[in-house]
């Protein structure tokens, strides 16, 4: 195995955090013109914009650190599926409104803890991006928590359906708390966040909202892994990449 340089690890790390934002942001933008009401549509698009904005900052930093003259666009539009290291949770299809809310809730609860920790990174650029992002994901967490409570503690129909969303997406949450080689390497220097240490707080936060929502906290701990560590994605990822990258692949270098 070739030795992973710290510089390369930092490029991977920044890009990987960005991948989470870009892919879930892309998924949420698919709700455009389809949300249940105009206010909810604006809310989802605003969240998506924040997440894609965060991805842009992270990709720009990855590109600068890499020093090969690439830009944020190379990271978003010209990498292949296996180069994306987003957690699988971010790429699962939107499903119904409950599925989308649960996915955003799981991710926002994680993001809130993650970006709080990233604020103390020894890497000043990552710390700055962390501080900026933290303000935004706090709103996402509030928005998704309120919806989760409304659906869980709503009608029998909404309760049953959103419980199903939780149970079916649960297997994708464990991956968020696994460490990659790049993360372990950067953790030694105080640059990366130890995500394994975030899990207890995440569980507490999620359990607290589920209780308010009269929903049952899943007991199954089995986790589906692959996206974050190896770039092994669900069958849905290829379609996202195709949709997102079509213009740049078909018309290389096109701008508008």
């Amino acid at each position: 195995m070739t030795e992973l340089s710290k510089q390369k690890a930092l490029v991977q790390y920044a890009a990987q955090i960005g991948d989470n934002g870009l892919i879930i942001g892309h998924r949420m933008s698919e709700w455009c013109f389809r949300a249940p009401s105009i206010e909810m549509e604006m809310a989802l698009m605003n969240c998506a914009l924040d997440l894609i904005g965060q991805a842009r900052e992270l990709y720009t930093y990855a590109a600068t650190t890499q020093g090969e003259g690439k830009t944020e666009d190379d990271f978003a539009y010209l990498r292949d599926e296996q180069d994306f290291r987003n957690a699988l949770l971010t790429e699962v299809p939107n499903g119904d409104w409950g599925d989308t809310i649960v996915r955003l809730f799981f991710m926002s609860a994680y993001n809130k803890l993650f970006f709080t920790a990233l604020t103390s990174s020894k890497d000043s650029e990552l710390a700055a991006i962390g501080a900026k992002s933290l303000k935004e994901v706090t709103y996402h967490l509030r928005f998704s928590s309120e919806w989760l409570i409304r659906l869980g503690d709503g009608t029998e129909e909404s309760h049953t359906r959103v419980q199903n969303s939780i149970d079916s997406l649960w297997a994708y949450t464990g991956e968020l708390f696994t460490m990659t080689d790049a993360e372990n390497l950067l953790l030694e220097d105080g640059i990366a966040v130890d995500v394994t240490a975030l899990k207890a707080d995440w569980v507490t936060l999620v359990a607290q909202i589920l209780e308010q929502a009269t929903l049952t906290f899943p007991t199954n701990d089995w986790a589906q892994l692959g996206g974050k560590a190896k770039g092994q994605h669900t069958e849905h990822m290829g379609y996202i990449i195709t949709d997102m990258q079509y213009m740049q692949r078909r018309y290389p270098g096109c701008e508008w």
């Binding site: 914009l49 900052e57 900026k132 309120e146």
Partner: protein, 172 residues
């Protein structure tokens, strides 16, 4: 005779530059300048006569940032500061505390409720939601319709007295 456009850069006086920057308005809220909003953070002279303007984005994905950069360069160019550069600075993260008092007054007159003065409690998950005063009739009897409004920096409210919906500039 028409006076020729300055062929050399003007002498650097920070106060002049700040005044010029007030001409650059936010494309979404055209009554506010980037100085009112606290987006413009610093003015440096990076080499003889060449300026560097430091800006901080309100939100990570704010689509106005690129346009603002171009407008800053163009405006400075027009005033004889040629080839200025604009640098984006993320840290410290932009906060509504940086909005000037004049900016808040202009915002309210424009029909958008300005952000609250205090910035504690920003990370509170629930509750602690204060009553926002209606920019039209000034009643505090309002309710939130949506956490998110027409742009990332705003939330949507409705006045329960005059019944007008209005934007609230979120406090972050």
């Amino acid at each position: 005779m028409v006076e020729a456009v300055a062929s050399t850069n003007r002498n650097f006086d920070p106060a002049d530059v700040w005044t010029i920057l007030e001409e650059v308005k936010d494309p979404e809220i055209p009554v506010l300048s980037i100085v009112d909003l606290g987006i413009a953070r610093g003015v440096n002279e990076c080499e003889e006569g060449k300026l560097e303007i430091i800006i901080s984005p309100t939100y990570s994905g704010c689509p106005a940032m690129y346009m603002l950069e171009e407008q800053i360069k163009e405006t400075l160019n027009h005033h004889g500061f040629l080839d200025s550069i604009v640098t984006t600075q993320l840290s410290p993260a932009w906060t509504t505390d940086w909005m000037t008092e004049v900016g808040k007054q202009k915002l309210e007159a424009y029909g958008i409720a300005p952000p609250e003065k205090t910035t504690s409690n920003k990370s509170v998950l629930f509750g602690g939601q204060k009553k926002i005063s209606c920019p039209k009739c000034k009643s505090d009897n309002s309710e939130q319709i949506s956490e998110f409004g027409s742009t990332a920096c705003k939330a949507l409210y409705r006045c329960l007295d005059c019944l007008e919906p209005f934007d609230y500039f979120k406090c972050i």
